[in-house]
Symmetry: C2
Subunit: 313 residues, 2 copies
Amino acid sequence: VHARPESDSLEIIARVLDQSPVDDAVGIGDDAAVIGPELSNGERVVVSTDTLVDGVHFGRAYCSLQDIGWKALVSSLSDLAAMGARPIGATVALTGAMRDDLTDLYEGLRFASRTSACPIVGGDLSSGDQLTITVTVIGQAPNPVVRSGAREGHVVAVTGPLGGSNAGLRLLLDDPLADDRVARRHRRPPIRLVHGALLASVGVSAMIDVSDGLFCDADRLASASGVGLRLDTVPVQDGATLADACTGGEDYELLFTCDRPVFAAIGDLFEGRGLDIPTIVGECTDDASQRDIDGKPFRVAFPDGLGYQHRLG
Amino acid sequence: VHARPESDSLEIIARVLDQSPVDDAVGIGDDAAVIGPELSNGERVVVSTDTLVDGVHFGRAYCSLQDIGWKALVSSLSDLAAMGARPIGATVALTGAMRDDLTDLYEGLRFASRTSACPIVGGDLSSGDQLTITVTVIGQAPNPVVRSGAREGHVVAVTGPLGGSNAGLRLLLDDPLADDRVARRHRRPPIRLVHGALLASVGVSAMIDVSDGLFCDADRLASASGVGLRLDTVPVQDGATLADACTGGEDYELLFTCDRPVFAAIGDLFEGRGLDIPTIVGECTDDASQRDIDGKPFRVAFPDGLGYQHRLG
């Protein structure tokens, strides 16, 4: 629908590997893949991998090493959450870390590991010029939720207000010592594994994590499902703008679709668990090319940014 | 037993994560980890991750992008082979690749993927200053073979002659276009998955892949098992030296231990499959501190190199 720096590259890879770049749940271009035979409890194994690079995905000036360790694990876990999976374990491949950095980095990783009950089971250490962390998480899911199940008339909802991370980044670039709510939101994004598992258990039709911005990730989900999007009420985190919420990245909330009776059940379920009830942001339409917010195409509403994409090469 | 640049760092990580660095089969410091519940066929899930960095693990002057793709997957698969595991799938996290490099890199990955029946199921693309590839492989194993099962009197054996990769590297550094057997051996190391699965099926007591050199990897196995090593007949690849074979890296043969009746069974089994019969290189002793070759300590026999370790930081 709109140009993304990465999509060309994904198409090259998919062509070489003879795979479809939009193949759901398995394949290059999706966040998590379902692999192998079933587990003895009938669940499926899912895997996802994510890399953070110094100067590209984080800045040492405004993120502590502990923050970076936390974010590295959380950004991968977010992909499991979007499948409705629980983590089994993670590997950490660390390149270009100084020995003196290891303790703080791994304290951040350990804190995320314990918070998510995801043991770090292995890894690799390499020298290199640029601090680079690749985390691969393996999980199990009774019914992995894919991106392609959204249908006309389903509501589109998110698990929490958006834009905080981008607003926090803006603040931190101005004042690296900023420590208010949005700054913390950028440095320590949330882990939505519990939310994802609950949403999968009630049968949401499609789900994705909001890592590259609402517009970008909603578009991915809609494209995989072959539906249009009509958004209206986007919840904006205090301290952020609507543009942050629509086009900023790294919020790590979950975006999902379901029919209205299921959404009502989700409200009861989340309320019963003491979790914030998700917010409906719009609905799926039958015009697969439609990507509207408040009656205007995404690109007209916010021409400056349509997703938080890191440029390759 | 002898200093390794990485071991300090692994100890820091293990301490922060509250894990033992020599914890077998699961944990930092091992090549592959057994994770999660059993599969429905009773097998276990194993995972391993490995990073190649430009200028550290390979040189663009003498390795083609296809070679690099091949090596990236093969070096991770080698850890699965050493557990007696079959691959289920792999993820590829690629940092710092130019778009024009993707086709060749992924052709190398695809070739290794097809050769090993290991589908590439996902990944991540990031910009960065240095070409860095992290491959994580997930596999399944009926009985994962760990490093710690070697006992006094067990033979120590390898699946093929050693040193070819290091000799090839030396040749390629001198002549980047060299294309003889050892040069090819360096650029396209073998995949020993079939060997590893067969060895696991007959009940070898311990196994490791020879990625950092015979002395280094044999020491790791012996240390994990609490046995000594007395080596004598090290098979040297044509074109390589005994020093290459003992201290060079990246041969990706398998080193294993077993009792003599099992070794006889392995001979029959491998012969029946048309595979080269492994070579006994020595035996395990009751003196846990012993690391001898031809009656001399490793460090006396080859004082210049005790394993092919990439320096951190």
